[in-house]
Amino acid sequence: MTGIEVTAGQLGFYSCHSCNLVSKATPDHHEAHCARCGSHLHLRKPNSISRAWAYLIASYILYVPANVLPIMHTSSLFGAQSDTIMSGIVYLWTSGSWHLALIVFIASILVPSAKLLALTFLLISVQRRSVWDPMQRTRIYRIVELVGRWSMLDIFVVAILVALVQLQSLATIKAGLGAVAFGAVVVLTMIAAMEFEPKLIWDPKRNRHGQAAG
């Protein structure tokens, strides 16, 4: 890598979030707009750390009912039954579909909890202006963005079951409140990841090399 690494932010250049056009800061600092597409310009997403924290904390809170409350209620001739996410996985496992149990386990338990922890780690590291391996942290951020959507899997499964199993006298399935909480966790962590500004991971690196702080 070359010795000259300079970011747009250091030069006071704006890079448009929508169209990527690089433009110079105008004297009027408060209301900068992209000359090409008219978007608001910021050097960094405004208040990204506090916004990301807000969504993340809300996700942590909802994570509890998401796992404790039933995501669906089944009533059939043999009686009524309520399933949480975990009991659904156990059912798949014991009924012999271990490969599906594994997929649902990864999508519904492993991914959401790993995502919450990864975002917490990224936010703390950025807040403490850590210089630890920015490439590695950028990779974590990319993985979080990439896999987040897969946690919607269980919600979709419940929805299809609800639509199909409407056999009046024989069996019906209804969606439970746990499904709402779980869906909210997935959506909120996705928004938290969007609010997070990955450029902040790289910012402290510059300052250690004796350049002026932004």
Binding site: M1, E5, V6, T7, A8, L11, F13, S15, H17, S18, C19, N20, L21, V22, S23, A35, R36, C37, G38, S39, Y91, L92, S95, S97, L100, I103, A107, P134, T138, Y141, R142, R149, W150, M152, L153, D154, I155, F156, V157, V158, A159, I160, V162, A163, L164, L167, Q168, L170, K174, A175, A179, V180, G183, V187, M190, P198, K199, I201, W202, D203
Partner: protein, 202 residues
Amino acid sequence: MNLSSLIACHECDLLQKRVALPPRGVGRCSRCFAVLYRDTSNWIDRALACTLGSLILFLIANAYPIVGLEVQGNRTVASLYDTLHTLWNEGRQDVALLVGVPTMVAPAIQIGLMLYLLFPLRFNRLADGAIPVLRFLQFVKTWSMMEVFMIGILVALTKLEHIAHVHVGIALWAFGALIPLLIVSISAFNPDEIWTRVKGAA
């Protein structure tokens, strides 16, 4: 200095020069390797063809039943619309939205807006309102999750296999074909190149 030859990495903000790419080449950030821009030759035809194909498959996937279930003469079939309708009617409007937006609304908007931009581009013109359309497209992409829904259908079918006879509907095959095709359409679609055609904000 000409600023239009510069690009700042959207992930690490490193400022670098745009370089000419080989056909179908990809320009990556020299520090964090994020994809910054792609080669643009002939992309409009490719994107238009794939997106039109996606539109047809999307209509089939929505119009026909995905799966049917048979238990002792009782038979139910479910299309995507039925699924949302049932959820809505039993008082779970929240879940209906959580399912409907990523599987039906977002992909429909995505395909529609891509076609809206691509048709005029084919004749070298920029569609009216290209700026807000491109911005909205960027936003809607995150919330379109048909590939996840597809796996969801397979999991649900396996769960039901034990208790009932399951019929696979036409829409399931349409979904199966739509997902890879839509992925190809989106990767062929080149918003960066459309932005270079935008002359300036009104």
